[in-house]
Every structure is written in C-alpha cells, then in structure tokens.
C-alpha cells in the first residue's frame, strides 16, 4: 500500500517560471494548486484564477458597524443615560460627535481588515504539509514553488511528477502529510 501524500511540488528560480508553470498546470486541467513565493506576484492570481478577495466587503461592514457604534454610544450617553446641560447647548450635539464617530469607524475597519486577513488566509496555522519539504524554507527567500495537491482529480503520483518535470523546474519533490 502506498502512503498518501499531500501533493507534488516543483521549485523554480524565477517568478516568471512560476507564473508560466501555474498557467500550464491550469491549462493541463489541474485545479487544486497553490503557488508560493517570497513576495507578491500579481500575475499569479490571474494565472491560478483566484477569486477576488472578500476583504473589502468585510472592512466595509466593520467600518459601518464602527461608525454606528461610535455615534450611538455618544448619543446614548449624552442624551439618554447622562444628560447634562452645558451652557444651554443641545443634548444631541452632533457636530461634537463627528470625531469619535470617525475614529471608531477607522478602528473597527482596521480591526476587521486584520482579522479578516487572518481568517481568509486560515491563519494562525502552525502546521502545514508544505513545510515538510526541506527546501521550502527558501520560499521566503528567493525560490518559487508550485504545488499540485493530491486531492486534485487528475492527480497521479507518476504522471503529475512527470508533468512538473517538463516545466524545467530546479527540483520536483513529494510533499508528505
């Protein structure tokens, strides 16, 4: 019985080679793939047909909630909970509320951006199979990796490895679970 593996990984020297390899793998029919690079490569999202990030929506909702929280908190405190007449000024003195409303909007939006980012990336994730490839430590330095995962219907240990070999990688290795 063969041991199950996570996938097959190819290592490339340049961002261009990685983008090409990702395109070829998509063209070949592979769908469960991911690319790893030390810095963002714009063409990769398009090559891998990644969905548009949902982060802007999350941040918008966070910002609106923050603004409402800021304004309603001040309204509640100054009008309902603790009304004080200061020199005849109206209790609902909305111009004075603008600043805290603005600050709370920014605060909630920024918090949702960061927690949204972590959630969308699935972080924190202390263990991931790709770290089992010893050379993967270079993915944060100067090497570019393409991984075809074993869950892909087209995945076959021999055929996928041979296919990755045709893309002129520096090395092809198995990713253990």
């Amino acid at each position: 019985m063969t041991k199950t593996i996570y996938g097959m990984m190819a290592e490339f020297d340049t961002p261009g080679a990685l983008v090409n390899a990702a395109r070829e793998a998509r063209a070949k029919g592979y769908r469960k793939l991911d690319a790893y690079s030390p810095f963002p490569i714009e063409e990769l999202s398009e090559a891998l047909h990644l969905h548009k990030s949902r982060l802007p929506l999350i941040v918008l909702i966070g910002g609106i909630l923050g603004g409402l929280t800021g304004y309603l908190m001040q309204y509640y405190v100054t009008v309902l909970y603790f009304p004080i007449n200061v020199a005849g000024r109206p209790l609902h003195s909305w111009p004075a509320y603008i600043i805290i409303t603005f600050e709370m909007t920014i605060l909630f939006a920024a918090l949702s951006a960061v927690f949204g980012l972590l959630a969308l990336c699935g972080l924190p994730m202390p263990y991931h199979p790709v770290f089992n490839v010893p050379r993967f430590a270079l993915a944060s330095r100067n090497r570019f990796f393409l991984c075809i995962e074993a869950t892909d219907p087209l995945f076959d240990r021999k055929a996928t490895s041979d296919f990755l070999g045709t893309l002129e990688p520096r090395e092809v290795s198995e990713v253990a679970h």
Partner: protein, 332 residues
C-alpha cells in the same frame, strides 16, 4: 580611453532604488543577518545605554511628579500651555512620519518607501507609546486614567463627549492600535522569512509563533495586498485626523491667541516635518552601522530631504501666518 557606453553604464540607472548587484537572495540575507547575527555591534550597546539613561531620567521625573503634583511644571500661567501637552504633541508628531511613509506613500505608489517603511513604522509605535505617557501623567491621578473611557460604573458618571480631551483619548488609542496592526500585517511575511532563516530552535520557535504559519501562498499574498491597501487607505485619513484632533486641544477653547482655524494644517505639516527629521536621524546611523548603504541609498535620503524641505516651508509659512492672524484679528 574607456568607451562612452561603459561610462554610461557605470552610473547606476536613475530610477534604480537600491544599489546594483543585489538579488532576491542577497537582499533577504543582508536584512535577516541584521536581526539574526550573533555579534551585536558596539553601537547597539552604546545607543541602548543612552536610551536607558534617558529612561531613568524619565522615571525619576515621574516619581517627582507623583510626589509633588503637576505644579512642578509651572502650569499656573493661564496663557502658556503646560509641559505635558507640548511633549505629547511633539511625540505624536514624530510618529506621523512613520504612518505617512507606510500609508500615504504606499497609496501614491512610491516604491522607494519599501527600504525604510518598517523601521519608520516601528518608530511610530515607540513615539505613540511615549506620547501616551504625557496625557496620562498630566491627569494628576494617572492610575484613574480609565475614567476617560465610557464604561458602566458605580459612580453613574460618563465622560463629556463635547470635550477635545475625550476626543484625544479615542484618536490616540485608535492611532496606536491601527499603527500596531499596520506594522504587524507588514511584518507577517518578514517574520516568516526570519523563521525560515534562523538556525537555532528558540528563535525559530518564537518567529514561528509570530509568523502564525505564513507560507507565502498566492492566496495569502492576494489577501495581504488587499489588506495593505485597505489599511493604508484607512491610516491616511487617520494620520491627518489625529494631529487635527491634537490641535483641537488648543483651539476649541476660546483662549485668545489659541482659538484659530489655522491650527490643524499647521500641526499636521509640523508633525510630518519633525517625523521625517527623526526618520533621517535614525536612518543615517543605521545604514552606516549595519552596512545597509546599498538598500537605504542616497536616493532615500534625498527624497526624505525633499519632504523635509516641502513641509519645512509649510511650517515656516504657518509661523508667519500665525503672527499675522493674531495681529490682523486683534486676537492677542
């Protein structure tokens, strides 16, 4: 006689941001070695000693302040403002350059910022932490600082949301939080690099915890890029608003000579001016001591100097206009 073409190529191309001869690998190695090196340079110990000495002066001053009260600042004069608020404004201003570099220059697509943004953001964090000390200390009873927040309490009182001092609480705590978040989001891939580069177990474990399992996957990067842009878009109005709110501390009251619509832009320009000066104060020794001349090049220093010149001119104009307004308005 050397060929004309050779001479032309000996000069680095004008648009080049970092020195010639760098590859992805050598840039990573050089920056990581600053953190992971076994030999801490003498310069570090010397600067640490100076910083620690100043910290002790601060602690001694705080003890004196708590023992004797805020009267030691000579704040009984009704027109001049106190020692605490000038320190507060100064430190917040220093911090603003970090946010400007990380947020505004990112939105303006100024790529030279990438060499200096991380340390400028770290500078912002420390500056905001220092700034936060002064409003707390000027409270007189700093251990009751939480009374500034609206929370349900047995005294059944609440802060006055029409007061600029309460606006300050929200502005500065939001600014500190957002600066920290922005810094951390930018740092996440760097921490992953340090995790992969470190050779000992303990640093690898610690950087591993902080990097949260960042793998540099295309999906990660796509979200990371969006998050950076969004945070920059949020931090840009924030940085302008924070110093505006700080200037409101002075202008919202009707004290003659201080009650002026002119203060917010004046304060923001002054903040960026002093902050960029601090970036240069930190960058020039750093690039020398850690041999980073190839990454923080003369071009960075030149660009920072241009920002200094522009904001310096705005501040000079503001000084003149401040006097003019006081004279013209009879508000003296």
């Amino acid at each position: 006689m050397p060929d004309e073409q050779d001479l032309l190529q000996a000069e680095p191309p004008k648009r080049e941001i970092i020195g010639t001869g760098y590859t992805f690998g050598t840039v990573t190695d050089q920056i990581a070695s600053v953190v992971l090196t076994k030999r801490t340079p003498l310069f570090w110990f010397a600067s640490f000693a100076v910083g620690f000495g100043l910290l002790l002066v601060f602690l001694w001053s705080v003890v004196l302040l708590l023992a004797k009260g805020v009267g030691i600042w000579g704040i009984r004069m009704p027109v001049a403002w106190g020692f605490a608020i000038t320190n507060f404004v100064w430190w917040i201003g220093i911090g603003h350059a970090g946010t400007l570099i990380s947020a505004i220059l990112l939105l303006l697509n100024q790529q030279w910022r990438n060499s200096i943004n991380r340390f400028a953001e770290a500078m912002t964090l420390f500056a905001v932490a220092s700034a936060g000390m002064f409003p707390l200390l000027h409270l007189g009873r700093p251990w009751l600082f939480y009374w500034l927040f609206p929370y349900p309490n047995s005294m059944a009182v609440q802060p006055n949301f029409r007061s600029p001092l309460v606006w300050d609480v929200f502005a500065v705590s939001t600014y500190a939080t957002v600066s920290l978040l922005f810094w951390f989001v930018g740092l996440l891939p760097d921490l992953a690099t340090l995790r992969d580069r470190s050779t000992h177990r303990l640093p690898r474990f610690l950087y591993g915890i902080l990097a949260m399992g960042w793998r540099g996957s295309a999906r990660h990067w796509a979200s990371h890029e969006v998050a950076s842009l969004l945070l920059a878009g949020l931090a840009t109005p924030l940085v302008l608003s924070v110093h505006t709110v700080v200037s409101f501390d002075f202008t919202i009251a009707i004290v003659p000579g201080w009650h002026s619509t002119f203060f917010p832009p004046y304060f923001v320009a002054g903040a960026i001016y002093s902050g960029f000066a601090m970036v240069l104060v930190l960058a020039i020794p750093l690039r020398k001591v850690y041999g980073l001349e190839g990454l923080i090049t003369l071009r960075h220093l030149q660009n920072s100097a241009k920002v200094l010149l522009a904001t310096g001119l705005i501040v000079a104009y503001s000084y003149v206009m401040e006097q003019f307004m006081a004279w013209y308005g009879g508000n003296t």
